[in-house]
């Protein structure tokens, strides 16, 4: 149609425009004419962001999800108190601090059975949760993508072997497999940390704990390693399926005819085209990782001696039947909000990227500038 289509702009859209301009600028620093050659891709991004701006649920999810990330980063620094109870001991008023309900004694969310401030524990716990997400997903996904690409691209016996392997891992309910691995690995990881000065300081700064407690991060680290083992098969299967579809396209044939190497075709040509669904799945999996990590640390309970949301609930649960609800309710709420945020965001991202719902969203964004009378060619 010859009538030009223009966008109806809202405040958030200007924000998105600035964001895209910034990203483009950064890429241009490395590759000179990238922006010119990828004009349609940039337009695509803009349209996606505009669509997101018109989804209140997606925006709410993004705000919650980013909130989780920000609190995770700054949590240990803004926490009013330390996570260990030496400061309580120093006051000598342990009795007053013991299981104080929310709002008493300067503890906004109450205190636990060691007298520690629950809010501070949750802020430290946010860092642990964030680190688990950051350490699990990129590695799990990378393994999955590589295996899926290879299986889908080469096909035949390679595909058969890799997919049977994937089946084996998928034959275990994820949480059970992770539970077994993480409990088996804890001691080995603790040993490794104990023997390395470098690991000790790295881990204590990453997880926001004191260097003496680095050893106590071992259960969390073993959960993280166990989650790598559990997380890749899903991505391997998905990438394989997408690669199989993509492989039939002419451009793959053309790349082969041009003599490009297989890794180059796989990673530079097929991968960018299958990334959309993978990103959606990843967004939805952020919540999954937070939840599974919390579940495992809940089960390992007393073994986890650093503040972690799941472990806090476990420790507090014994006081629930005495009516001390806050030790269970608040950490659980923290998990729920973080997970829900990413799930809401992932859900609307899926709608935006799904070609079936895509068109209706586009029509809501686009407004025709003017209607030409009697359309002529």
């Amino acid at each position: 149609m010859s009538a030009e289509e223009v966008y109806e702009k809202k405040i958030l859209d200007r924000f998105s425009d600035a964001l895209i301009a910034f990203v483009v600028k950064i890429i241009t620093l490395f590759r000179k004419d990238w922006a010119k050659r990828n004009k349609s891709r940039i337009d695509e991004w803009r349209l996606m962001l505009y669509a997101l701006n018109r989804s209140p649920i997606g925006i709410a999810g993004l705000v919650l999800g980013l909130g989780f990330v920000i609190v995770g980063i700054i949590g240990p620094w803004i926490a009013p108190h330390s996570y260990d109870f030496s400061y309580i001991m120093a006051t000598g008023k342990f009795k007053e601090y013991y299981l104080a309900p929310p709002g008493t004694g300067g503890a906004l969310l109450g205190t636990d059975d060691l007298g520690r401030d629950l809010l501070s524990l949750l802020l430290y716990g946010a860092r642990v949760s964030l680190m688990a997400t950051v350490l699990v997903l990129p590695i799990g996904i990378t393994i999955g993508i590589i295996i899926g690409l290879i299986a889908g691209y080469y096909g035949g016996a390679v595909d058969e072997i890799l997919m049977r392997l994937t089946d084996v891992f998928l034959a275990f309910p994820g949480l059970i497999l992770a539970l077994a691995f993480s409990s088996a690995l804890t001691q080995r990881i603790a040993l490794a940390i104990a023997h390395s000065q470098f690991l000790t300081s790295l881990i204590s700064s990453l997880f926001g704990v004191k260097p003496v407690d680095a050893l106590n991060v071992a259960p969390i680290l073993s959960i993280i390693v166990a989650l790598w083992i559990v997380w890749w098969p899903g991505y391997a299967r998905m990438t394989r399926g997408l690669t199989l579809q993509e492989k039939n396209n002419v451009y793959v044939e053309a790349s082969k005819a041009l003599g490009l190497s297989s890794p180059s075709i796989m990673f530079r040509h097929i991968l960018p085209n299958v990334l959309g669904p993978i990103i959606v799945m990843m967004t939805l999996d952020i919540g999954g990782v937070i939840l599974t990590e919390a579940g495992l640390s809940f089960l390992m309970g007393a073994m986890v001696k650093i503040p972690d949301w799941g472990a806090i609930v476990q420790a507090g649960s014994q006081y629930l039947v005495q009516g001390k609800w806050w030790l269970v309710i608040f950490p659980g709420l923290a998990i729920l909000i973080s997970v829900l945020g990413w799930n809401l965001f992932g859900d609307s991202l899926r709608d935006i990227l799904d070609p079936r719902t895509r068109r209706s969203i586009e029509f809501k964004i686009k407004k025709r500038k003017k209607i030409e009378k009697g359309e002529k060619q």
Partner: protein, 332 residues
């Protein structure tokens, strides 16, 4: 061939408007549609993709797909001589008519059949729900007969097959036998052969012609193929962008086309009734029906377009007995 005016009408469409309410806007799919189908005739509707042929046929049993809506008009159906307005019937009354008195044969048999049920089941349920057989056992017997009649090979076996186990031609035969199962008074065939191979197409058209003749059915055939029109029809309506632009007995259309679009259409396809040296495409594309051109909808592509064509929509006028044209060139 006797003059169609002398015959008894079966269905009359009067001043029909069908709009589609989409995200992009209101698509004015059908406007100002008036025509009559007479008992026992083979009526054809021809036009390009998206011109509203299928929508018109669906409107006859008031089953326009969503988001389409019949905004205005009448569809008078002569039920045993009594005229009823289809558009005013209740859903249950319509259900009794659909599939029993007005039956459809659809374009794409592979998606029209439920993949989870055998074709035998799907033929029989159509009869069971209209009480034309007394039980499932009799139904299956009848289904075998029907399949044999549509020349399905090995019908006793085929009734036990699932749709995906049949070839495209066999699936279409199954759909045709569903259409015939209750011996409808009006059989609406919507591009029944366009998804099939050319050889199968010819066989099926031949079959359809024979069935209509043997059972004395009224046929409403939709096609985009002038060759099929010439072979199958008594009368033909040419559709352009939701309007009937010309309606005439089939010989008249081929020998004496009046509307510029019909003429273009005949030049664009091999014409079986006139020798034309060279095929010529019609310049331009079909208009956007959300913002249809004012006046005559064909004027942007019409070589004879005048000022009046851009301003006002021409009426459908009878230029010779039974020959109607919607064009300012013939409106005087």
């Amino acid at each position: 061939m006797s003059g169609p005016q002398l015959r008894e009408p079966l269905i009359e469409v009067k001043d029909l408007y069908v709009y589609f309410y989409t995200y992009a806007g209101i698509v004015k799919a059908i406007e100002d549609m008036t025509f009559t189908i007479y008992k026992g005739e083979k009526f054809c509707m021809v036009g390009e993709t998206g011109c509203g042929k299928s929508v018109t046929s669906r409107a006859l049993a008031n089953i326009v797909p969503s988001p389409g809506r019949i905004v205005k008009g009448k569809v008078i159906y002569y039920r045993d001589g009594n005229p009823v307005n289809i558009l005013e019937l209740s859903e249950e009354q319509l259900r009794e008519i659909r599939g029993k008195e007005i039956a459809y044969i659809v374009q794409d048999p592979s998606s029209a059949l439920d993949p989870l049920y055998t074709i035998g089941y799907q033929i029989v349920e159509t009869m069971i729900d209209h009480y034309t057989v007394k039980d499932w056992k009799e139904g299956y017997k009848r289904a075998v007969e029907l399949l044999r009649e549509v020349l399905m090979p090995d019908p006793e076996q085929r009734i036990r097959n699932y749709p995906h186990e049949l070839s495209g031609g066999q699936r279409q035969r199954a759909v045709i036998s569903i259409g015939l199962s209750n011996m409808p008074r009006l059989l609406i065939a919507d591009e029944p052969t366009s998804s099939l191979d050319v050889t199968v197409q010819a066989q099926l058209l031949e079959l359809l012609r024979r069935l209509v003749r043997e059972h004395g059915l009224t046929l409403f055939l939709i096609t985009h193929d002038m060759g099929v029109v010439a072979e199958m029809c008594d009368r033909v309506a040419v559709l352009y962008a939701g309007n009937i632009v010309e309606l005439a007995p089939v010989d008249e259309i081929f020998k004496n086309p009046k509307h510029p679009y019909t003429m273009g259409l005949l030049r664009a396809v091999p014409n079986p009734q006139a020798d034309i040296e060279k095929l010529e495409p019609i310049p331009g594309t079909i208009p956007n029906l959300i913002y249809p051109p004012p006046g005559c909808r064909f004027h942007p592509r019409c070589p004879f377009a005048r000022d009046a064509c851009k301003r006002e929509k021409p009426p459908l006028v009878e230029v010779s007995p039974g020959h109607y044209v919607r064009c300012w060139l013939h409106a005087e």
